[in-house]
């Protein structure tokens, strides 16, 4: 550690001096738009600490923390994810409703040098989502390195509203996280950092216009929850949560307007800076008021959980108000969008998921006194914990006997919180959610409908979004199954034609039996390196093999209904 001591000292020094040079301009990630997105993940480095060595980071398209993907509801988006790290990874589209095989969870491992091409129709409503690695047992390390980025989903309902929408001007994404730097300015892989970062910028400041500004806040931390508010205790409006806009803006006011944002959660807020040009205010974490068992509320002086930021209040980003832009947003809409949530009376069942400490659980290997588990068992790659019929509405009851708070995240669906410990959830948590903090000993109930995507093979995950806990096995998995299709599995021949062979640029795969189709295609070179991973590819237009160098390759095609695999050899010339 303890260059961080120095860094903290500097932060305190800078804060007390409050001089303009003390701050770095908040980095606003580039945007990518359209329907085809090229994301190359690679090792890179960045000058994060002002003096001394660069920090080794992960990056996407050469940047530490990846581009913001702006996508539209209804579009078919194609992702070209090239892994040029020197380690395997996955990219999970957090909050996105899509087929499990495209989800980028721990089962969709992208080896080094491989291009993974998932695609899906965007069914999510306008919202702030994100993407990040989900490589089991390596999530903490790879997220720490800064691999990830925002996804902004747009739709017609949101576009019709008079909301700030100028990216980086009055619509500002801020990924909040914390890191620990060692003596060589490198990231320590620890649950709590000593240095707060906004969009991977230390001591960030940013200019905001004197009007209503929309902040899209993401908690991208490994473990910390942030109890957010402004240094002048100004009121603000929450307009959206994880899965999209609320029915109406929700005023957060009072003597100390705050809301808690846990790992993985997002919130969109509107802040009124009208008439305040020339002034400054800090977005802050007020974690001193958090209890000892909320992540970030503890105060360990020593050991791996020690953090200078634990149980304290600290600045996240300084916002300097400048002149208003042309056509500023100067008022808050009275209503936003109509959300139709599943009804409890339509739930087929209540599924109980326990969150507990491993102590005393005989089926769990000794992990130490405070490893945490779901459903009284550790995550096992080969165990499907739950099978959910397609289109079923369910209540999930998250029952914690754990001593600690855990932000619970589920893939596939956005949910609506019904109750927290029998009481109605705080108003700001009553929109669409995909992460909810389950405090120690409490019970959270939510309702969700598992529609659109059935796949008996590839599971979706649910887990604690504290990356350390997830890596240690606080995770489970479920499949959504279409009961109308399970009887069709048979072990019949899968005659396939591959042409042309030798091939150049395009390779065509044709099933002679037209009832058959591809579930998964992977192409390996003659040494067995995976080059292309194509989940449920659309084969009519051929497979683009223009990235492959000349040589001999094998193509493995898993048939959709039978899941049988056919392997053939072809030549690229």
């Amino acid at each position: 550690m303890r260059n961080s001591l120095l860094i903290l000292g500097l932060i305190i020094l800078f804060n007390s001096n409050a001089s303009a040079q003390s701050y770095n301009t908040l980095w606003i990630p580039d945007t990518l738009t359209g329907t085809n997105f090229n994301l190359t993940i690679k090792d890179t480095f960045a000058q994060i600490v002002n003096t001394g060595n660069q920090t080794i980071t992960g990056g996407i398209n050469g940047k530490f923390w990846g581009p913001t993907l702006i996508i539209n509801k209804g579009d078919l988006v194609n992702m070209n994810v090239q892994n040029d790290l020197n380690d395997s990874t996955t990219i999970h589209w957090h909050g996105m409703h899509l087929p499990a095989v495209m989800d980028g969870g721990p089962h969709q491992i992208i080896p080094p040098g491989t291009l993974w091409q998932p695609y899906w129709e965007v069914k999510n409503q306008a919202s702030t989502l994100w993407y990040h690695p989900h490589m089991h047992e390596m999530s903490q390390e790879q997220i720490t390195k800064g691999i990830g980025g925002f996804i902004i989903v747009r739709d017609a309902a949101e576009a019709a509203l008079a909301l700030p929408r100028k990216y980086g001007v009055d619509d500002i994404p801020i990924a909040i996280t914390d890191r620990d730097f060692n003596t060589q300015n490198q990231f320590s892989i620890v649950p709590y950092g000593d240095s707060i970062m906004a969009n991977m910028t230390l001591r960030a400041q940013y200019s905001v216009p004197a009007q209503y500004v929309r902040l899209r806040l993401l908690n991208g931390a490994i473990e910390t929850s942030y109890n957010l508010g402004f240094s002048d205790n100004r009121s603000f409006y929450i307009i959206g949560t994880d899965g999209g806009l609320l029915a109406a803006p929700l005023l957060i006011n009072g003597a100390t307007p705050r809301f808690l944002l846990s790992a993985g959660e997002r919130v969109e807020i509107l802040v009124n800076f009208s008439g305040q040009a020339g002034s400054s205010v800090f977005l802050k974490a007020y974690n001193q008021s958090l209890g000892n068992f909320i992540p970030g509320g503890e105060s360990f002086p020593n050991g791996p959980f020690a953090s200078f930021l634990g149980h304290t209040n600290y600045n996240i980003v300084k916002l300097n108000v400048t002149n208003a832009t042309a056509n500023p947003i100067t008022s808050v809409p009275t209503s936003l969008v109509t959300n139709t949530y599943p009804l409890e009376q339509d739930a087929a069942l209540t599924r109980i998921i326990t969150l507990s400490d491993s102590t005393g659980v005989t089926s769990v290997p000794i992990l130490g006194p405070n490893a945490f588990i779901l459903g009284h068992q550790l995550f096992n790659f080969n165990t499907i914990n739950h099978s959910i019929p397609l289109n079923q509405t369910e209540v999930w009851e998250l029952k914690s006997t754990s001593i600690f708070g855990h932000p619970f995240h589920i893939h596939d669906v956005e949910f609506k919180i019904l109750t927290i410990n029998g009481a109605t959830a705080p108003t700001y948590q009553q929109g669409w959610k995909d992460v909810v903090l389950v405090e120690g000993g409490k019970t959270v109930r939510f309702i969700a409908k598992f529609d659109d995507y059935a796949d008996a093979t590839h599971p979706f995950m649910y887990h604690c979004h504290i990356a350390l806990h997830e890596d240690e096995g606080m995770m489970g998995q479920f499949v959504v199954t279409d009961i109308n299709s399970v009887n069709e599995i048979s072990k019949e021949e899968i005659p396939i034609t591959l042409f042309p062979n030798p091939a150049h640029d395009k390779l065509f795969v044709e099933f002679k039996n037209q009832a058959q189709s591809a579930y998964y295609v992977s192409i390996k070179d003659f040494l067995g390196r995976t080059k292309l991973m194509l989940p449920q590819p659309y084969l009519k237009d051929g497979i683009d093999i223009s990235t492959l160098v000349k040589g001999v390759y094998t193509i493995s095609i898993m048939e959709k209904a039978s899941k049988q695999v056919v392997t053939k050899t072809f030549i690229v010339n």
């Binding site: 690679k42 090792d43 890179t44 480095f45 000058q47 001394g52 060595n53 660069q54 080794i56 040029d84 020197n86 380690d87 080896p111 080094p112 040098g113 060692n182 003596t183 060589q184 490198q186 050991g303 791996p304 959980f305 992990l367 130490g368 006194p369 405070n370 490893a371 040494l527 067995g528 390196r529």
Partner: protein, 198 residues
């Protein structure tokens, strides 16, 4: 919290053994590897060598790429004192296509390496040194006809800005050349991880 015990043990260890560093002063054997010119290079070839600067590096790592000029300069300077620089690529060529011998040859030629760039195809030498990253630097020194590791860690403290960098290697070699112990014998290495096949 799991590591609390481990940390406790470490603290006890440090308490008992003080600052004595067991990882250093480790003996390494002579080694022979194939150079990019096709010929084998052995530490035994350098009859007059007092020591070597051994650098583990590779073709693809963005951080390692920053160091080529510095390696040339270090080799030029310290070869005169019979402490030549040897660069070794221990990356797994099966996993990483960019690390093939042919691409090593191209890189050495294009970037005008003035030092041997050796392929550690079996990763045996990487394992011998316990090299963790590219780049990672070692200084080995001849004592009683054996090679002893005197420094291991980062090359210097600024990858992107050579003029601002303090060279840990230069300092270590300079100290050794005048017969002093190395004052900063271990720093943390970082860069691209070297993964070893079992």
């Amino acid at each position: 919290m799991k590591s609390t015990l481990a940390i406790g043990v470490c603290i006890l260890f440090i308490f008992v053994f003080g600052s004595f560093n067991l990882t250093l002063e480790k003996r390494v054997d002579n080694f022979t590897l194939r150079n990019v010119n096709g010929k084998n290079v052995s530490t035994q070839d350098y009859k007059d060598a007092k020591g070597f600067i051994v650098i583990f590096t590779c073709n693809h790592c963005p951080f390692a790429k920053l160091y080529t000029n510095r390696f040339n300069e270090l080799n030029t300077k310290y070869s005169n004192f019979n402490v030549p620089l040897i660069a070794i690529n221990s990356m797994d060529t099966l996993m990483y296509e960019e690390e093939t011998f042919e691409l090593m040859q191209q890189k050495a030629k294009k970037e005008k390496f003035n030092f041997p760039y050796l392929q550690d195809l079996t990763q045996a030498v990487g394992k011998l040194f316990e090299a963790q990253h590219t780049p990672m630097a070692f200084v080995i020194w001849k004592e009683n006809n054996e090679w002893i590791i005197k420094y291991k860690g980062a090359v210097d403290d600024n990858g992107a800005h050579p003029k601002l960098a303090n060279s840990y290697i230069s300092k270590a070699v300079d100290e050794l050349l005048v017969g002093n112990p190395v004052s900063n014998s271990e720093t943390e290495s970082f860069g691209c991880a070297i993964f070893y096949r079992k």
